[in-house]
């Protein structure tokens, strides 16, 4: 039995929901009042769920795991028998791990700027945006390079947990006050993600069907 300590507007929670959905796994969602209640910083949450006070947290039977990137690795390793999302090939795994760390860099830059602009968090928004642009540049360069070799994904011939990990805060760049106009390969990749069969969205990322009606 899988449970997810979840916050609807969190890109890190969303990436776990997206993989759970693609793996066809049933789970119980435990909504956490991240904003405005700061429940993730409450003594009860720190004592019994995650002493770091972060979301998401996954509970699978007696196994508990924090950190979105770690949860993606666990879920794909445990439940994806086809090894589609986390292939066992050594080079692919090396590359996936590289992009999982880039996803973590997005947390400290693009996600932080979004927290400041949308949720009133304190911080240097301009510095976070500058940092985010450097990370988005890495992603755009990699995707452009892949494109020239006839590939469209970060680490393999098809999307993997590397793409899932980097997707939310790239697609939510607008809410961080960032403009993706200078990142054409990244924009194409975001669009390709949204067109994957069975894709589900989160608030702030437009559903494909609706986006088509706008254009």
């Amino acid at each position: 039995m899988i449970s997810l300590y979840d916050y609807e507007l969190s890109g890190n929670c969303y990436k776990v929901r997206l993989l759970l959905h693609w793996l066809g796994l049933e789970y119980t969602r435990i909504p956490v009042d991240f904003h405005p209640g700061r429940e993730h910083q409450s003594p009860a949450f720190l004592d019994t769920v995650n002493p770091l006070g972060q979301l998401p947290v996954l509970q699978d039977g007696d196994f508990r795991l924090r950190d979105a990137q770690a949860i993606l690795v666990y879920l794909a390793s445990q439940y994806d028998t086809d090894q589609y999302w986390y292939p066992s090939d050594a080079r692919v795994r090396g590359n996936i791990t590289l992009w999982l760390t880039v996803a973590e860099q997005l947390n400290h830059t693009a996600a932080a700027a979004r927290l400041q602009r949308s949720f009133g968090y304190a911080g240097d928004s301009a510095a976070c945006q500058q940092g985010a642009n450097a990370v988005l540049r890495q992603l755009d360069d990699q995707l452009a390079e892949q494109h020239f070799q006839g590939r469209h994904w970060l680490a393999a011939e098809h999307p993997t947990i590397a793409d899932i990990a980097c997707f939310p805060y790239s697609a939510l760049a607008g809410e961080a006050g960032l403009d993706l106009i200078g990142f054409p390969a990244l924009r194409q990749w975001i669009d390709a993600m949204r067109h994957q069969p069975g894709f589900i969205t989160m608030p702030g990322i437009l559903a494909v069907r609706f986006a088509k009606m706008l254009t």
Binding site: P36, E175, G204
Partner: protein
């Protein structure tokens, strides 16, 4: 007493904003504050300092000294001018002991606060932006409803609104024709009354209170005044924030960011009667702040 230096405080002279009670968020934010450790809030382009005074009442200082501040419906309200022209709106449901008040928190949105209120009044976008909850294709029709301005309170009232909703609230498990009624109490405050699930004839209230940071940036605060007694605060907040999170990118992509009150930029249909009335009502008040000022046409 704070030092007074800036010649021009606040980013607008519009009396509709300067002489109005404007919210700066939940009164809970003042817990643990003091004159030495005030909370800060941004309003009309300035930073305000707020704290709980020795008498337990809120205190607010702006760039030129103390400002009138009061607590209402669990939120703090500040007047950035000398005198509020109108009293704060009344929300009798907020003191009904059978209901619970849930503050859903403020969410920043990069557009004019007037656009946030207008979006709140719009039912036409439900099946497109809130598919699966507040609307569902192909149920796109907005049935005729009435809009009037109350001669006593000068509030806008939209009544007889109804819309097919597959999941009208966090506790709804079947689709229904939701019955709606709207009030616009102040340019940046509106309330929605909608059928309360499981309580025939009763209506829950959702109040939207917008904090204007400047002409093109706002914080949308949402208060639930609900009969609901099963779900946790977290579940109710999650549902409400998901709805607003869907509105946010739509709002932030609207151009111009400031609301045009008339002219050729936007075209309305019959379903937009509430919006048209809101724009006329703002125009009648001489609203300038957050309003798109058309540039003179080339000769």
């Amino acid at each position: 007493m704070l030092c007074i230096t800036p010649a021009m405080a606040f980013c607008t002279d519009d009396p509709n904003m300067r002489n109005e009670w404007l919210t700066v968020g939940s009164a809970r934010n003042l817990h643990g504050s003091s004159a030495q450790r005030p909370q800060t809030a941004r309003l009309l382009g300035e930073n305000l300092a707020l704290w709980t005074g020795p008498d337990g009442l809120p205190v607010c200082h702006g760039p030129q000294g103390p400002l009138a501040v009061r607590q209402h419906c669990g939120y703090l309200w500040v007047c950035c001018g000398s005198t509020p022209t109108r009293p704060l709106f009344v929300l009798p449901e907020s003191t009904d002991p059978a209901r619970r008040l849930v503050d859903c928190g403020g969410i920043g949105v990069a557009t004019s606060g007037l656009r946030v209120v207008e979006n709140f009044l719009d039912m036409g976008h439900f099946p497109f932006v809130h598919a699966g909850t507040l609307g569902q294709l192909p149920h796109t029709e907005v049935l005729p409803y009435r809009v009037e301005i109350d001669p006593h309170s000068d509030e806008i009232l939209a009544t007889g609104c109804q819309f097919y909703q597959p999941r009208a609230s966090a506790s709804a498990d079947t689709g229904l024709m939701a019955q709606y009624r709207y009030r616009v109490m102040q340019p940046l405050c509106a309330a929605l009354y909608k059928s309360s699930p499981g309580r025939p004839g009763a209506q829950d209230v959702i109040a939207l209170m917008v904090q204007p940071l400047d002409e093109e940036n706002a914080i949308a605060h949402c208060l639930l005044v609900y009969f609901e007694d099963q779900l946790s605060d977290a579940a109710l907040i999650s549902f409400q924030q998901a709805i607003f999170g869907q509105d946010k990118p739509i709002l932030e992509n609207q151009r111009p960011r400031r609301l045009p009150l008339d002219g050729p930029l936007e075209t309305h249909m019959r379903c937009d009667l509430a919006s048209v009335t809101y724009r006329r009502w703002l125009k009648g008040r001489g609203m300038v702040f957050g309003v798109h000022a058309p540039t003179a046409a080339a000769p």
